[in-house]
Symmetry: C2
Subunit: 298 residues, 2 copies
Amino acid sequence: MPSPSFPLLAIDWGTSSLRGARIAADGQVLEQRGFARGILSVPASGFEAVLDECFGDWRAQSARCLVSGMAGSRQGWTEAPYCPCPAGFAELAAQLAWVPGARSPVAIVPGLSMDQGGLPDVMRGEEVQIFGAMQLGGQSEGLFVLPGTHSKWAQAAAGRVTGFRSFMTGEVYALLSQHSILARTLNAEAPFDEAAFVQGVARARDAGGLLHHAFGARALTLFGQLDADRMASYLSGLVIGAELQGAAPRPDAPVVLIGSELLSARYALALEVHGVASRRLGAEATWAGLHALARTLD
Amino acid sequence: MPSPSFPLLAIDWGTSSLRGARIAADGQVLEQRGFARGILSVPASGFEAVLDECFGDWRAQSARCLVSGMAGSRQGWTEAPYCPCPAGFAELAAQLAWVPGARSPVAIVPGLSMDQGGLPDVMRGEEVQIFGAMQLGGQSEGLFVLPGTHSKWAQAAAGRVTGFRSFMTGEVYALLSQHSILARTLNAEAPFDEAAFVQGVARARDAGGLLHHAFGARALTLFGQLDADRMASYLSGLVIGAELQGAAPRPDAPVVLIGSELLSARYALALEVHGVASRRLGAEATWAGLHALARTLD
């Protein structure tokens, strides 16, 4: 017996990873797969081949494929526009970028852009997670935080993203932990140390800023006050703490965290240090967002 | 005719460079040399050999050799102590670490340490520059800023360093400009662009912090508002600006900058954006400090 067809192949194609799900008409996520095939590993003309290699079987059975994330960037498959904020779900749906010449229909979701006093900001992929989270939570406003290489803090009101800010947190953590002087006394294999992490977050609240506190981690090491097993967690707390200093969340405004369980747990802990409550969502937000967009095409 | 002997071979041996001067009894700097032979390039038992390779002729003519900088660290030649702040010139002179078994007398100058509410900070080499600058300027108090890989802001009063703070500024700039996503759109060969630098310093004064502003540099690029030729200067302004945000200098307290001409000029410009006056000193501060220390040995 042939397996029943299902309407949507949902794809989240980021810089360093490729994830997909096949989704039933009612939104149920039937199956998921993930690959280390981010857009940086794909040659310019190789996107359709990689998609088929990873999801060809599912694609053959689905009416359409919706893709969010960096696959819509200039270095991606097909460039999708940025919808300027404030932007709602309708604007996203109206500006899907259909991939020309694809073997079966593939559309790429636009990103969002932001202008704050002449200074731009951008996101690609997170907008789908935010609208998905709003769907799942039955919520039309709030503060959404998406931790990652380039974390996003987005404000929503009346079902629209009214503004957002990005932070180079994950990337700076990777640089400091792998390539700075701190790397010499950092055991990247050590298990997460909650106390050291919270200590880092608390330190980030003091005057001086990240550049001062990062050197301070070195000085702690020199005086035997911070060992290599705790350094990674402490530094993670310093950098995520610096993001929180910049984002300045308010204790009376709870936050929705969307991201990997591991990273969201750290952010929840850091937000707790700031007295800010949070709840967490994972990949389900992505799939809910892409499913909702697909429904607008019926 | 043999050249006349002179009393001091003064050496500043840092992480990435080795500089030396021969100095007359009256403090006059007779000659200087510099090499890319920082302590990281020297094997543990190779310090005396490298010193002789670079300065053997001068050493043969001098009564003694005084060394400041990272040569006194655990990874250096002979570990010198840290003098805890507040510390004066006398404490430095009293705790010189004589290199055991050296062919002719070599002493390494101690560093300074600092304890701020249980959090340590350290310097090695800058203390000699600060005391040298005080000598040269006939000044016993003030705010001294030493730009570099790990910049130092030191406060002096009554001829003593009362406290200081370090910032990982140069190192973070190098990481961001060489290894972050910004490196892709940064022309490291482009000449310094003063306007872009000042723009970066000004941006660093806005809310959000370095992690946000660094991503903002990426967004400016995406929208064609920042080209590769201006990126290096803009980023330099952002990072030095972040240091200034952390150090929070006061407009009524002028600063003495000690360091390379190129870097000091940038800091002077950044301080100007903050309304802070500055004057600049270079290597002469190092030589004046080492000469003053040598005189205490007579």
